[in-house]
Subunit: 344 residues, 2 copies
């Protein structure tokens, strides 16, 4: 079942391939009668021009590569959905690659994408989300970026000038901590993800700074980090609740850990938010379907994806681009935080 080509159409219509091409693309006038004849044949055979051959000439594939660590984390599908929305305008589609956080896979996929000559790459998570990253891993990305436009989303690579789109996680954390303080909390804990990630370190920096600014002590026993999963949230919360002196509020690095923390609090007989307040980060869709609904900081994931595509498009058009686009997060107050009842 050979795919039919522009030659087949041209032959049967008794015209040259050039004419068929012109009908296809409207790049030059074609007599109404011949056009009709050609269009009829295109219809008859359901002919679709071969995008490969076309790209070979035009140097454009209409494909944007997306590299992300884990589609199972609902934050990423939302970024992706935003990107897809924005990409409609320019008719781009997406080559999607899950790395499961493995750098080897990131490298592999970067290579594949270059081979396939994608028009641009959106890079989320992984090595760009590390506080520090081995020089050769950095260099590798830079090498690719010299040939293909790359946008880093919510991450960075030290000592490079790569274009980035990020949420202002620092500001977001300040919002969250201030909110807890305004509710009267003075004993506030922090549940983080992997400590060598930028996300965790930025949020932790904001957390410490805000407490200090407000004249509250920073208790290191209440600052725990592990990973970004619900399971991790459960375990760290458990540690907090086993302490002799417990916090009355906890600021979590993301919604997953926050949901885990709430679960554990329940298991320890504490009611959220009456006995303990918990605030998350991301505002994944789940956040307002969980009991109690989660107070959190919205990342505007969809907008992050949209912006990434916009920026990428500018780069593809050789336009001027801002090296750093920062989106303001927003505090979403729901049910998991409440004024302090009484110090424990």
């Amino acid at each position: 079942m050979r795919q039919i080509t522009i030659y087949d159409i041209a032959n049967e219509a008794k015209v040259s391939v050039a004419t068929v091409s012109r009908v296809l693309n409207g790049t030059a006038p074609v007599k109404v009668s011949t056009r009709a004849k050609i269009e009829a044949l295109i219809q008859k055979y359901q002919f679709q021009p071969n995008a490969m051959a076309r790209s070979l000439l035009s140097k454009e594939t209409g494909i944007i590569g997306v590299i992300l660590p884990d589609l199972t984390n609902p934050f990423f599908p939302e970024v992706f959905a935003g990107a897809e929305l924005e990409a409609q305008e320019s008719g781009h589609t997406f080559l999607l690659c899950n790395t499961m956080g493995l750098y080897t896979k990131e490298s592999e996929y970067l290579n594949i994408m270059q081979e396939k000559r994608v028009d641009g790459i959106i890079f989320l998570g992984g090595r760009i989300n590390l506080k520090d990253c081995e020089p050769h891993l950095v260099q590798e990305v830079v090498d690719h970026a010299n040939k293909i436009p790359i946008v880093l989303v919510n991450g960075n690579l030290r000592n490079t000038e790569l274009t980035r789109v990020v949420t202002d996680e620092y500001a977001g954390t300040v919002f969250a901590v201030r909110h807890l303080i305004e509710l009267g909390h003075t004993q506030i804990g922090f549940i983080g993800g992997e400590s060598h990630t930028t996300t965790t370190s930025i949020k932790l920096r904001a957390f410490r700074k805000t407490l200090r600014d407000e004249g509250l002590p920073v208790k290191e026993d209440w600052i725990l980090t592990d990973s970004f999963s619900m399971e991790s949230g459960r375990q760290l919360m458990q540690k907090l609740l086993e302490l002799s002196e417990k916090p009355t509020a906890v600021c979590c690095v993301n919604d997953f850990t926050a949901i885990g923390a709430i679960k554990t609090a329940g298991e320890y007989g504490l009611k959220v938010p009456d006995d303990i307040s918990i605030v998350g980060f991301d505002d994944i869709p789940l956040a307002h379907h969980v009991i109690p609904e989660l107070t959190t900081v919205s990342q505007q994931a969809s907008e992050l994806g949209q912006t990434a595509v916009k920026v990428l498009r500018q780069m593809m058009n050789k336009g001027k681009v801002k090296k750093l686009t920062s989106l303001e997060p927003q505090l979403i107050i729901r049910q998991s935080t409440a004024p302090i009842k009484s110090p424990l």
Copy 2:
């Protein structure tokens, strides 16, 4: 920053392009010294052969297209992850398209995929998930399937012989209902999704049949359908709880609606599972992080994806394929179901 080509390498190495190609593909012997020279240049310029040109000859792109309705529903990322896992073996990557349930988008993406000459297509949800579907929409998919291997996942198109991979949703529902009956429930409600989808209709059929088989009455007031969202689950549960005579257990079409239902039950002062039992379907990761953890039927989403790729690969290799592969679901008993306390 022009991408460098096999010619550039050949020129600088003072050999013909044929030789470089042979080094690249190992298709013929090359003297060790020339090979070394060429490899050095490849390294130096980070040369990657253009996959487009290659595909033009080989008629293979190494890309599998995936069409699905909504990546935001955690079931789909899991299927995707399974597919990706399996695709590693053959080195395929994925062109991913979200249709948001719009048939026009499905058509558009099918066309794009054919233009891009993907090696195969995995089709989830959308029109293949309807009980009935307009003939021209059916025909369109069949036309594409004549040119490119297509596998339908958890769906069907009437009067066609398209290859399918499905979970046995009928059996799964029987497991769920039997479980409730074994716990002593006799008054069981059903919360469905869109009523014109195959998923809802299959599950509903299984639901009715099982009750009848067990000699229990089917009360139509307790069978409600709307959509697959958490919000829908909340609303339908509300309707159930406003009835004068209420069920003591509810079987939900998926985990999303089940989670919504649990939430509403809580708002009505009912404890799950003490006052009312609720069972879901899908076993999304969230299911065991919610309070109470959800009793549900596991779809083995990941395996579904893996199998789809396996089948697709057989089709690509012109091998014999089973027209229908059916995966057995599994009842996962957690905390949202319990023996009946007392009839309300």
